[in-house]
Structures are given as C-alpha cells and as structure tokens.
C-alpha cells in the first residue's frame, strides 16, 4: 500500500513558531508545547475558511460486534450486513464509513453495505477515535501503554496521507475540509492540515478537551461540555463560545456522556459499555441545546429519556437484554442491545420501529445524529412506563429501581398509587424496593379506589395470591384521608393471620380513628382473641387501639367489654395497662393518650 508518510516518531517535532498568530498560515509542527496563545485568531480564521466546506453528517447506522464479526444496518430500515472477524475496540461511525481495529489492523467498511474499503497495519495499537470529511478518514490509534498515540489520515483508496506519532496522548479526532482537529494535553485542539502536515491553527479551551466530534456535520470540541466550531470559536478562551453541557443528574451507574477521548473502549462484557449517555448538540435561534431537548441514559436493561434542561425523566423503556449502545438522533433515539435488537424511539419515547442485527452482541456502536425517527405508536403515560419498567427489572437492578420509584412518586396521579400497590404485591420485587414502595404508599393521598380494591384482596394460597396487600401503609394513608369506606375492609384484615403483625397494628390504629358501629363484631372478635394472648408489643398496641375503638363505637356493651378486660387477671399485663389508661383518659378528656395508640410514623 502506498503511503505518504510524514512522521515525527518518538516525540513532538518542533518546527518553530514563526507563523503563530498569523491566521491560517502554518503555525509549525503539530502539538508544540511552546505555542503562544493567539486569542483565538488562528482558529477563527480557519473556521471562516472552512465554513463553506462543512463535514458530512454520519450515515445513520448501528454496528454490533461479537466474536464472529461485525453486524451493521443503516437506520431506520436498511439491509443488514455483516463482516467476518470482530473488533478489539468499539467501532466508530465516521461519515459514511465504519472504522474499526482488530489484531494490529485498522480497517474501514462502507457504512451502508459493510464492504471493506481499506485496511492497514497499526502495529499493536488499537482504534481510539476517528472522523471523516467525505474524502479523508482520520483516526487516532493508541497502544494500551501510554504515550504511544498515532494520528493517521487515509484516503478512500486506502493510502495513508499523513501519519504522526506522538508522545503526548492524542484524543478523539475530527476532520473537515482536509484539516484534522486533534485534542491533546486535555487543553488544546490542534488543527493539522493533512496535506502539509502543518498545524494551521490551535484552539485553547478553559475546560478539559479530549474530544473533537462531528454531530450532524457540525464540529464540537470538549469533553464534559462541548464548544461549537462556529463564528464564536475565538471567544472560547473567555468562555463565551457557543457551548452545551448536560445538566447535572444523579443516574444509576454514574454514566458519563462522551467520557475521556484519551481512552480506549475495548470490546468486552464490561459494565462500562452498558451504562452510557447519548446526546446530540444542536443550535437553534442562536442558542445551543440538545436535539429533542433531551438525552438518553442507559443502565443495563433500562433506558431513560431525560430533559436537557433539568434532567427530569421524560420517558423510560425497559429492554429484553442489556443495552450496549445508545444514540441520539435529530429527532428520536436508538438503542442497541445484547440480543442484537436495535430499538428506535421517538423523541417522547414512543415506538419508532426496530431492526435485528442478526446475532447476540458483545458491544455495539450507534450514530444516528443525522437521522429522524417517526413515531409509530405513542408511549403510555409516564407513570405507566415507570411501573412497567419497575416490574420488568430484575432484582440486581436495585439502583435503577430506586430511581424509577423516586420519579414515580413525583407524579401526582392516582394511578401511581396502583403501581405502588402492585409493586408490593409482586413476588419478584426485591425486599428493599418493596419496603420503599410500602413507605411511599403510606404517603399517598390519591388513588383511593386502588387502595380499597387492594384491601379486598387477602392472602390466598390456592389461588397463588402469596403476598397480602400492604395493609399497614394502606391503613396509614386511608386514615390520613379519613376514608370511612375503608373501615369494613380494614376490620376484616384484623382477623386474617396471614397479615404481618406490624400491618395489623397499623390497621388497628386506623380503625381506632375511623371504625363505625358496623365493624363492632370484627373488632370485638379481635379484642377477645388477643387481649390475653398478645405476645408482642405490636399486638399489644393493636389490642389497645381496638379497645379504644370499642369504647368509641361500641356503646355500653363495648364499654363493658373493655372495662371487664381491664379488670380480668388473665388479660395480658401491658394490654391491661393500656386499657386502664384508655378508660382513665375517657374519664378525663384532656388527659394523656393511652400508650401504644399513637400513630407510628415513617414505617415501611
């Protein structure tokens, strides 16, 4: 293979800085550490020069990797292709090519067909980043050990037009109009004219820069935040350039958006590939934001659509397998999972179709920044999405479940109450999550119909109802809502031994407040069964609470019952003490409350 090689092997060659500060004229050898800041003059001049030759947008494509090979498909509905042999780092979609490395070879495939365009030796290095301007592909390849970065520029014929070895770490590059943009030293982006090998401009950023990215034909530089390569780029040193950054948001697994452009992304089963963020910066009406005004976060088998303003959850979707790749489109999003399925979503999380890559995957790359997906089916209400995702997640996804639950209770809709109740009744929900859902039910003040419906249910071994309803939390909530319609249901649960004792205690406390004469018999049965057999504090408390209810609604027979129990030597000592206190406070209306009758707060 023909190569036009110009290498600064073993370090950074210094060709002087005679041209520094002189617009797009060469500033000398790239990556010089003696460069003098030019207040953005050189980069501004370059931007002006390149304005008429924008970089092409990437072909919307998903590329999966497994041990056998690469599997690609253009989106939304292209013909799947495959390429034998895998990849050692994540393949990269650059313009209309897919660049990947494997066993010391760098190669490029046509993104639409998978046909190999070229391949060349990179001698023990692996692909770190790549860009394409329609004529030239640039790639930064690096060894596992530090300080062995190499910038390579290859034309469509497979000829190397430039190759630069560098002792400093080179970041993820981009290319536009024959100029490679290479971040380095976490601080600079050097613009290297690939024909001459000269650095023609340099951008100094006041934040970490390891990434030069092409989003839908527009270059952006940075890492955590990105500044746009536009007519304000010369203001970057004073933080006045066009800039975007995702809002701060606690997410499961602490995903980062682009991450460091100085690192390799090995193809492996590591969790790192499954915890990702996808966002595409965009500018409209002079202000920078993200397409869809949202970004996508993945955490194993669930993806979240989040607002780019405040990080609030816009939609949630659970997948059949771990997510390996996520992408944001101009309109909509895409995910690629370990089963080989690429799922397309509308900007609101609705169904926009799916395609199969044709095999189980170890890793997957998506670039859909130039695509727009049409919604085929709108998503259900957010509360239902959250409920569905909570039910679909496996117990080892506790962190995601916690986030979903937190988001769920932010919604003030009655259906949330039902979802929470269903969670407590599902055997596959882990104990921590069930406890959290129970605690939240107690705080609900809407969804009365779902609470009452839940109380109709009892443990039933034969019919596989193996978890009783969350009696205690429901009792707390209904008591706070003064919901008298609940009293017969609560009273029936008092005498169901399948309920947890602490739940029965809370039901008893609710009944002490809400019970009507219609529940007298149930209450009296409970009182008779346990006044002398109460063997734990919560049962004592429940009996005393029911004693209070009997005094309130039982008329003279109720009073006689409680008075006799308070005198009977067989009555359990603590119960007797509680009943005596009740009777005393009855006699003195302003007296202290009986022990054990006070509402217990903040219990699951």
């Amino acid at each position: 293979m023909f190569r036009l090689l110009s290498a600064w092997a073993g370090g950074i060659a210094l060709l002087g800085s005679a041209c520094a500060g002189s617009g797009v004229q060469g500033t000398g050898a790239p990556f010089s550490e003696t460069w003098q800041a030019d207040q953005g003059e050189s980069i501004a001049a370059l931007e002006k020069r390149l304005r008429s030759t924008p970089a092409p947008a990437a072909t919307p494509v998903a590329v999966g990797v497994n041990d056998v090979g690469l599997f690609g498909v253009t989106l939304p509905d292209g013909k799947p292709w495959s390429h034998a042999g895998g990849a050692d780092t994540l393949p990269i979609v650059a313009g209309n090519v897919v660049v990947a490395s494997r066993a010391g070879e760098l190669f490029a495939l046509d993104a639409k067909t998978g046909q190999q365009l070229w391949s060349l030796s990179i001698k023990g290095r692996k692909l770190r980043g790549a860009g394409d301007d329609g004529a030239l592909t640039v790639a930064v390849v690096a060894a596992e050990s530090p300080h062995k970065s190499r910038l390579i520029a290859v034309n469509r014929a497979g000829s190397v037009v430039r190759e630069v070895d560098s002792a400093v770490e080179l970041g993820y590059p981009a290319v536009q109009g024959g100029i490679a943009f290479v971040p380095w030293n976490n601080q600079y982006v050097s613009a290297v004219e690939l024909n001459s090998g000269e650095e023609v401009a340099r951008l100094l950023l006041r934040e970490i820069v390891t990434q030069a990215r092409n989003f839908d034909g527009q270059l952006w530089f940075g890492e955590k935040g990105l500044v746009r390569f536009d007519d304000k780029i010369h203001l970057a040193t004073t933080n006045q350039a066009t800039r975007v950054a995702l809002p701060e948001r606690a997410l499961p697994g602490k995903p980062v958006w682009l991450g460091s452009g100085n690192q390799l992304w090995p193809v492996s089963s590591s969790a790192r590939l499954k915890i990702r963020l996808a966002a595409v910066p965009s500018v409209s009406d002079g202000s920078a934001h993200f397409s869809n005004h949202a970004f996508l976060a993945s955490y194993f088998r669930v993806v979240f659509g989040l607002s780019d303003r405040d990080g609030s959850v816009r939609f949630v979707k659970s997948l059949r397998a771990d997510t390996l790749g996520v992408g944001a489109a101009k309109r909509g999003f895409a995910t690629c999972d370990a089963s080989g399925k690429v799922t397309l979503l509308s900007d609101s999380g609705g169904d926009a179709g799916s395609v199969e890559l044709g095999g189980r995957l170890t890793a997957c790359t998506l670039d859909v920044s130039a695509a727009s997906f049409t919604q085929k089916q709108p998503p259900p209400a957010l509360a239902e999405q959250l409920g569905e995702a909570l039910n679909d997640l496996t117990p080892d996804m506790a962190v995601a479940q916690k986030l979903l639950l937190d988001e769920l209770v932010k919604l003030d809709q009655p259906i949330v109450t039902k979802i929470l109740i269903d969670l407590t009744s599902s055997a596959k929900i882990p104990p921590d999550l069930r406890a959290a859902a129970r605690a939240l039910i107690a705080t609900r003040r809407s969804g009365k119909q779902y609470m009452l419906a839940a109380l109709e249910r009892h443990y039933d071994y034969i019919n596989d109802v193996l978890l009783p309803p969350p009696l205690g939390p429901l009792a707390d909530a209904l008591s706070a809502m003064n919901e008298v319609a609940a009293t017969p249901l609560l009273a029936r649960h008092l005498n169901d031994p399948a309920n947890e004792m602490t739940d029965v205690e809370r039901a008893a406390q609710a009944l002490s407040k809400l019970a009507t004469p219609a529940e007298y018999e149930e209450l009296r049965t409970f009182f008779a069964l346990y006044r002398a057999t109460a063997d734990e504090p919560s049962l004592v408390s429940a009996v005393v609470a029911i004693g209070g209810a009997l005094l309130r609604i039982g008329g003279p027979p109720g009073r006689t019952l409680v008075e006799r129990a308070a005198q009977d030597p067989l009555t359990q000592t603590d119960v007797k003490r509680g009943l005596t206190a009740l009777l005393t406070s009855e006699a003195q209306p302003s007296g202290p409350k009986a022990p054990g009758v006070a509402q217990t707060a903040q219990r699951p």
Binding site: K418, Y450, A453, A454, E456, R457, H458, Y459, D460, Y461, I462, N463, R492, N495, D496, P497, A498, M501, E521, R524, T525, F527, A528, L529, Y530, R531, A532, T533, D535, L539, P557, T560, L561, R564, A565, D568, P569, L570
Partner: protein, 290 residues
C-alpha cells in the same frame, strides 16, 4: 385488582352463622347481668351431673389454675352440658394455655353447637391455637365446619392446610372438591385422600389421571378410599381401571397398595373389584377380558 375475595364472604357468612357473631365474645352482653350464657343454655338442656353454676364461676374467676381445673372436670365428665360455659369462655378470651385446654375440651365433647365458639380461633395468629381449633371443629361436625375448612385450605400455614384438606374428606364436604383439586398439586398431599373419599364420576376420572403426574407418595392415599367406595358413588369399571393402572406400575408400593385394598375390602364389597384385586396381585390383568 379483582373484586371482593369470595373467601372473605365465606368466612363472613360462617361468622354470621356462628353463635359468636352477635354478641357472644368477651363479656356476654346479650345475657342478663350476672347470668351467664351457660346457665341460660343449661336451663333448657337435660339435667346435668355437673355443678354448672360452680364451674361457671370458676371459669370466670380469672385464676388460671381454677379455670384449668374446671375445664379438666368438664372434659373428664364428657357431659355435653359442659360445652356451653366453655364456649362462653372462648368468647370472652383467655390466656393461650387456657384457650388450648378449652378448645381441647370442646373437641372431646364433640358438640356441633360448639362450632360458633371455635370458628374465630381457626384464624388466631398463634398456630397451635389455630390448628387445635380446626381439629376441634372437625370433631364437633359443626355445620360451620365445611366453609371454615375450605377457607383454611387457602391459608398460609401448611399444617393448617393439611388439617383442613383431611377434614373436608372426613366431613364429606362435596362442595370442596374443586378446591381440593387445586390444592393437591400445591403440596397439600392430604387432599388426595379426601378426593378419594369425595369424588364422583368425572372427578374420579380426573383424580385417576393424576396418577403418574403427581408423586406416587402423594397420590397413594387416594387409592384405597376410592376402591372402598360403594358402586353407586364410584363405578366398578373405574375401580378396575385404577387397579390395572397400579398393576402395570409393577412397583413394590403399588403392589402393597393393592394388598391393603384387598385386605380392607368389606365382605359385602363388589365381587368384581375383589376379583380384579386378586388377579392384579397375581400379575394378571385386573379385567378378565384382557
């Protein structure tokens, strides 16, 4: 969420039917002051050898030793008249020790009228009280027992479910057959025996169909009761089919089961079934035609 659980309606009906429901628990609010229900019950009952007023006083004394002594006296007497004051004691409530003895006393007296006092205890949180109350309820043959046992079959206590399953067969509760079929594959082995005692026609065919699907040690308890049922309830044809099925299993437990059935077959039992058992035990087809 489905509608109201029918189980709850059943227990509600059971409680409503029981003497406990309208005013029997704890102090006896329906009785005249100082005149306990036992005395009232005793007024219309045949004359008793027991000193009912004295026993009543002891049972209401609140002294555990005295109460236990009174219960002992009643139990030893075997006098049905002693049931009413014990039922009143259950309605009032007492310590677990006293309750267990009281329930045991009612069990030994075996009065159907005691059902109402026992029903609430079949749902007590203490397993030993709950199980004891179920056993006592079965012994009393109370009309409430069928519904309460069916309800207990749905509970979360495996011992309770076993007691209930067995009791439903002993008390000939035909209405429980569908629930027993549901319970059988859910580790309620006692349901097999009851089904062997209760099934008819297609139900027995269904039971037979479970042989080979469920573990033999679960199903074997259904076999002998089924073979001993009169022909009006279970046809000889079905019994011979069962015998032949067991013969073909050619296992020691199956052979033993056939021997047990033959030994238990009453003298006036079906000659055809007897012949079938004898043939099967000799290794021949139970049906002579084959």
């Amino acid at each position: 969420m489905s509608g109201r659980n029918p189980r709850i309606l059943i227990i509600g009906a059971a409680l409503a039917l029981s003497g406990v429901a309208p005013g029997a628990a704890a102090a006896p609010p329906k009785s005249a002051p100082g005149k306990p229900p036992a005395a009232k019950a005793g007024a219309s009952a045949p004359k008793s050898k027991l000193d009912l007023p004295g026993l009543q006083k002891s049972l209401e004394s609140g002294d555990e030793a005295q109460v236990l002594q009174a219960l002992d006296t009643i139990q030893k007497s075997g006098d049905p008249a002693g049931a009413a004051p014990v039922e009143a004691l259950l309605a009032r409530g007492a310590s677990a020790k006293v309750l267990l003895r009281a329930i045991e006393t009612l069990r030994s007296l075996g009065q159907a009228s005691s059902g109402g006092a026992l029903v609430p205890y079949t749902r007590h949180r203490a397993p030993e009280l709950r199980r004891s109350a179920l056993r006592a309820l079965i012994a009393t043959k109370s009309p409430l027992a069928g519904d309460v046992l069916r309800l207990a079959l749905h509970g979360d206590d495996p011992v309770q479910r076993s007691i209930a399953a067995r009791g439903l067969g002993d008390l000939d509760v035909r209405a429980a057959v569908p629930e027993l079929f549901s319970a059988l594959p859910k580790d309620v082995a006692e349901a097999a025996q009851s089904l062997g005692m209760l099934c008819t026609g297609a139900e027995c065919e269904k039971l037979l169909g479970l042989l080979g699907k469920l573990r033999f040690d679960v199903m074997e308890s259904a076999v002998v009761p089924l073979l001993l049922r009169p022909q009006v309830e279970v046809s000889d044809e079905l019994k011979l089919k069962l015998i032949e099925h067991l013969r073909r299993m050619a296992t020691q437990p199956a052979h033993q089961l056939l021997q047990t059935a033959l030994a238990k077959l009453p003298p006036d039992g079906s000659p055809q079934v007897k012949r079938g058992l004898e043939r099967a035990l000799k290794g021949f087809s139970a049906t002579e035609e084959q």
